[in-house]
């Protein structure tokens, strides 16, 4: 069964951008914790970064229920892999491939999982950072972003990312982009999480907020001398 063509799949509860960069010791991912319902910021503590096994982290934008289904699938995959007990563990490249198959096959059935996925990991010293979209477009790069992040964050990455950044430089770069997203993306809130994966393991931070700046002189009286404008 399942031959019904489901063409009325709308996203309902959605997450906004996810950012990812490679740095010297591994990968950093960042996202905010908002779950939007149309234009309403309905849920303010949605975790959109998840750990997958010991060496991979996944971030998603788009429909949250589909992201929850994907994390379930990946948990089952990792558990089955662990049960083989063969001294080998699935790494980020393998999981990227698996996710790509899942997303592309759903797209072929006109029943997509409405997410843009950012996957990052490190195995045996080899760093990996990639993206899989809801229609199965997939690629790897030194820095990736979904949604609005593509337009606002990636230009900053192209300018300021460099090979072998320290953790501090990486975090500062991501925070800079998160702030821009908070100012300019209506679906973004000032509550973020970051995930860090290195050979030593995975850390996902508790939610944190950034200092915002509205103290620009030009903001005080922007329509002075031009009443009616904004």
């Amino acid at each position: 069964m399942g031959s019904v063509v489901r063409c009325d799949r709308y996203p309902y509860v959605t997450g906004s951008s996810v950012l990812g960069i490679k740095y010297k010791d591994g990968i950093l991912l960042a996202s905010d914790t908002a779950g939007c319902y149309g234009s309403t910021v309905r849920y303010k503590s949605v975790e959109r970064l998840k750990r997958i096994g010991d060496n991979t982290i996944l971030g998603a934008s788009g429909e949250i229920s589909d992201f929850q289904a994907i994390t379930n699938l990946l948990d089952e995959l990792i558990t089955e892999d662990w049960m083989w007990d063969d001294g080998n563990k699935l790494g980020p490249f393998e999981i990227h491939n698996y996710l790509n198959r899942v997303m592309y096959n759903r797209r072929n059935k006109f029943d997509p999982l409405w997410n843009s996925l950012v996957l990052g990991g490190i195995k045996k010293g080899k760093k990996y950072l990639g993206m899989v979209s809801m229609i199965g477009v997939h690629f790897q790069d030194n820095h990736v972003a979904t949604g609005f992040g593509n337009h606002l964050a990636r230009p900053i990455f192209r300018d300021e990312w460099k090979e072998d950044m320290t953790l501090e430089e990486g975090v500062k770069l991501l925070e800079k982009c998160l702030l821009v997203l908070f100012y300019r993306d209506r679906s973004a809130i000032n509550k973020f999480q970051m995930a860090n994966v290195t050979e030593g393991g995975i850390t996902i931070t508790e939610p944190f907020a950034l200092k915002v700046n509205w103290e620009l002189e030009a903001f005080r009286n922007p329509t002075k001398g031009a009443e009616g404008s904004w």
Binding site: R6, R9, Y10
Partner: protein, 220 residues
């Protein structure tokens, strides 16, 4: 293909965790278009002795979902040998909502008490996302409550505080949402079981520009 915001589900529902259990609340208006088909409906449905469901959206869809989940939980309880957990009930509701997302218009809140997690509230909005939260709202009336809840909700309320809070919230939504009205029904679930309550007419607080019933001045 844009996501439509809080729409449709012509109701106000909410559930709140307090220290010791949960309080579920709802209005009692069911509309078919502009006509109030039922002014005293009961939107809080029992799933098991210790888990209840608030329903918003299509009445037919939520009734069927709750019937299935009640049936599954009944079987599960017999096999398990002890009462089902709130998490299990919520996951079943989520499974139905998620796997049938193209066909259903159901925004639901699952809340109850079990001995492992105490009082728990789970939101299952359109699409079938599952979120455990300290409190949740739903339905068209919930749009009018975001500001109030942001300001007034606090964790670790007592049972009476929480019930007053729920009644006040639903009453505020009823005051502004045409699709919500009637009485405020609450269900309190804790380790001692479940208790239904009913707040109507002059038991509800009055707000801006609302007046208490009184004698017509012509007849005074």
């Amino acid at each position: 293909m844009d996501a439509h915001g809080p729409h449709g589900p012509y109701t106000t529902i909410m559930a709140v965790e307090y220290n010791g259990g949960v309080i579920l609340g709802a209005d009692s208006r069911t509309t078919t278009g502009v006509y109030v088909a039922n002014r005293a409906s009961d939107k809080i449905t029992q799933l098991t002795d210790n888990v209840y469901l608030c329903r918003s959206g299509s009445a037919a869809d939520t009734q069927v979902v709750s019937d299935y989940v009640r049936y599954f939980l009944n079987q599960h309880t017999i096999q398990l040998g002890r009462e089902a957990t709130v998490k299990t009930a919520a996951t079943l509701v989520k499974e139905l909502a998620y796997q049938n997302k193209s066909f259903l218009q159901a925004g639901m809140i699952v809340a109850g008490w079990d001995k492992y997690d105490g009082g728990s509230v789970y939101a299952v909005p359109l699409g079938g996302t599952l979120l455990r939260l300290p409190f949740a709202t739903g339905g068209s009336g919930s749009s009018y409550l975001y500001g109030f809840l942001d300001q007034a909700w606090r964790p670790h309320m007592s049972k009476d505080e929480a019930e007053r809070f729920v009644v006040k919230s639903i009453a505020l939504a009823i005051a502004r949402d045409g699709a919500s009205g009637g009485v405020v029904r609450t269900v309190t679930v804790n380790e001692h079981g479940a208790e239904r309550n009913f707040f109507a007419g002059d038991k509800l607080p009055l707000f801006h520009e609302e007046i208490p019933p009184g004698r017509n001045s012509l007849l005074a």
